[in-house]
Symmetry: C2
Amino acid sequence: MSAAEQPYHHGSLRQVLLARAESTLEKDGVDGLSLRQLAREAGVSHAAPSKHFRDRQALLDALAESGFRRLTAALGRAVDEAEPHARARFAALAHAYVTFALDHRELLALMYGSKHAPGAAAELVDAGRAAMDLTVRIVAEAQAADEIGPGDASRIALVAFATFHGIATLAAGGMLEDAPVDEVVTAASDTFWRGLARA
Amino acid sequence: MSAAEQPYHHGSLRQVLLARAESTLEKDGVDGLSLRQLAREAGVSHAAPSKHFRDRQALLDALAESGFRRLTAALGRAVDEAEPHARARFAALAHAYVTFALDHRELLALMYGSKHAPGAAAELVDAGRAAMDLTVRIVAEAQAADEIGPGDASRIALVAFATFHGIATLAAGGMLEDAPVDEVVTAASDTFWRGLARA
DNA sequence: TCATCTATGTAGTCAATGACAACATTTTGC
DNA sequence: GCAAAATGTTGTCATTGACTACATAGATGA
């Protein structure tokens, strides 16, 4: 046999599959993702991926979960780097969310797509909750600092998160028309904050 | 031949395909939609649908466009039936949006999915814009009545629309946790309106 | 050390699907 | 009436996800 012999075991197939899958996802959309194509690109047989992902949906779930973890990390980083005032942190969170959405349009759609396997959904839901928890923390801090009025922090954070999420998805879908994304995000953050302000 | 002879031409294949497609869409998700299965259900050959839809995506685009039209109609109806005050109309719009989202989860995901055919996207985008225009109208009316402060009505409406959209998609994806949807919608509408209020 | 158990990969197969081509039957419009 | 456009049918193909049986490597432990 030739010198360029490949070892029988790939060594990091799972990682490679996930990496190429995400790249393909953003390029061709979720419909352009084929297990067999991924296998070809990784230089393994067409059935090899099944040893790492029960089925196609399991791969998508893994991508989504990874997406949630990175989204949460990005949001946390943005909040930590922002000015140490609730108002600024709130805005930073919003901008970071939209930035992530624009950088990972297809991934975001996958993350919030409702078609999650009933079984694997647990870890996925947990990963999603973490991003929300971050928002709750900011709201609670703002209330503690008396920057905004009282009220159920979880509920307030939920509405805030939904607002950011809405802008992010519209932006990712190119539905913000010609409006500059940053301006829209700032406007939303400002308006929302004003609505929460202490009377 | 038997008496139960079917005419060579179906007569309303396009309508039937769209109707069954939407029903299947909500039941099995977009991945569960198969042109061949639809053809079987309609009692025609597997290639018949291609005479009405260039490809699978064209069918999905048609569904999405129909969804936007009905969403706009539902929003318009809700606004018309609400108390004749901008505040009430605003809230009615929000609730109607979320109600539509919960009643057509998969359809909504399809409508806002970014994978629209470049060509057919024109009519689709127009249909989507109509829903937004409705929101602009409400905002402009509120400004005219001096109920909210000044500002670019389109921009304000865009942010409002995004907020409603965010709640709707989170609700449709079951990500509102245990929070009662109506309460969240009301809270969002109230907070946003307060943020817009005249100083 | 070596036997075996488990993880990982391969080859082969199957039914379903979307797309396309060639052809048939109506319907429409001139 | 007749030509052309609509609408349907049959046949075919490559791709795909899923499954089965089997091969090989690496890990575990007596």
